[in-house]
Symmetry: C2
Subunit: 211 residues, 2 copies
């Protein structure tokens, strides 16, 4: 177990391991070798062993890995079992879609509240999550221990809201706006994870090529 600096490439593969192991477990598979898992995931056996060895020794010679154990280990590594409080900002179509359908709990997040500016939205409840007035966001953050903010508001408000979140001690921002929160600045410890829809679709556009 070496705990140096885990490369980004490895980190991004962890949730995939998690998903595939969960599926194996559901199928009742008890053990799996690095090569079998590699076939399933489109990775080499070597890479899997290398990846896992960043975090510990989870396998056994001649046997392979126990699916259930490895699954739990990876959940631990990702801190999925440690519940973190989160808020969602911007209850538009996308925000609402996430509130209704996305299983935040499966990623270790409990949504404590949602925020919006629209009077007809404030005070309502979506899937058990109360929608509060965005004007009270700063105070709310001061009064509660919130780790993660989900940003699903219009791009033009993203920069300003991001700044406010950082000033009031947020630890991570799950960013659905097209804004790039650039290089650290004062609060280099805040993590921003962005899902840029249009970047993704444009990559697809590139990959399907010309006609």
């Amino acid at each position: 177990m070496k705990r140096d600096k885990i490369s980004n490439a490895v980190i991004r593969r962890l949730p995939r391991y998690c998903r595939h192991l969960a599926a194996l477990r559901r199928e009742g598979v008890e053990r799996i070798s690095s090569s079998a898992l590699g076939d399933k995931m489109g990775l080499t056996a070597s890479q899997i062993r290398q990846d896992l060895s960043c975090f510990g020794e989870f396998g056994q010679q001649g046997y392979g890995y126990n699916v259930g154990t490895l699954y739990q280990e990876i959940r631990e590594i990702l801190h999925l079992n440690q519940q973190k409080e989160g808020i969602l900002i911007g209850v538009g179509n996308l925000g609402r879609a996430l509130l209704r359908n996305f299983r935040f709990a499966d990623s270790g997040i409990h949504l404590a509240a949602a925020f919006d500016v629209a009077p007809e939205c404030i005070g309502t409840e979506v899937n058990g999550v109360e929608v509060l007035d965005a004007a009270g966001l700063a105070n709310y953050l001061d009064d509660h221990d919130i780790s993660v903010a989900v940003l699903t508001l219009p791009a033009r408000f993203a920069e300003e809201t991001g700044r406010l979140l950082i000033e009031h001690g947020i630890r991570g921002i799950w960013n659905f706006t097209s804004v790039d929160f650039e290089a650290g600045e004062d609060h280099a410890d805040v993590v921003v994870e962005s899902l840029h829809f249009s970047d993704s679709l444009r990559v697809l556009s590139y990959l399907i090529g010309a006609f």
Copy 2:
């Protein structure tokens, strides 16, 4: 201009160049050097010049790059100016959010139709896009030249629908389900671009670390 094999790392940076150049253009900036653009984007000047040289010679010694020209060049590279026909499958909360708010045209996609199974949804129109009966999907694909399918349906239908799409000649799948469309199989030429929300949030969970 070398047209070998463009690496994935470079391809994923192209939409970012596109976004940053668009912003510069909006701000009225006419020219920019690789080092200034690098500062803005958090890349080295070297990397930017290396990236762009995969596609051509867009700069000028002692001057830098013309923002407008480079922007258009990158749009060309991504085929954003070539309109492709697309359909969206699964008009739930997320599908509806995309239909209403996402600017498909900005990524070169025209949404020709949407599909769902719910009787109360079929026949309606969302933001000018007609919702058709998913039972007629195969026939529709045979009758129209559709390049891209947006998958926003429940995970349990993803596999089956993906197969159908591939059989009926789709070129790209923009996948919002948690299903991994694995390794090529028969139709290795079909491109699948996935946005795995939960993978993304779990990476964030890892990065913010323990308490």
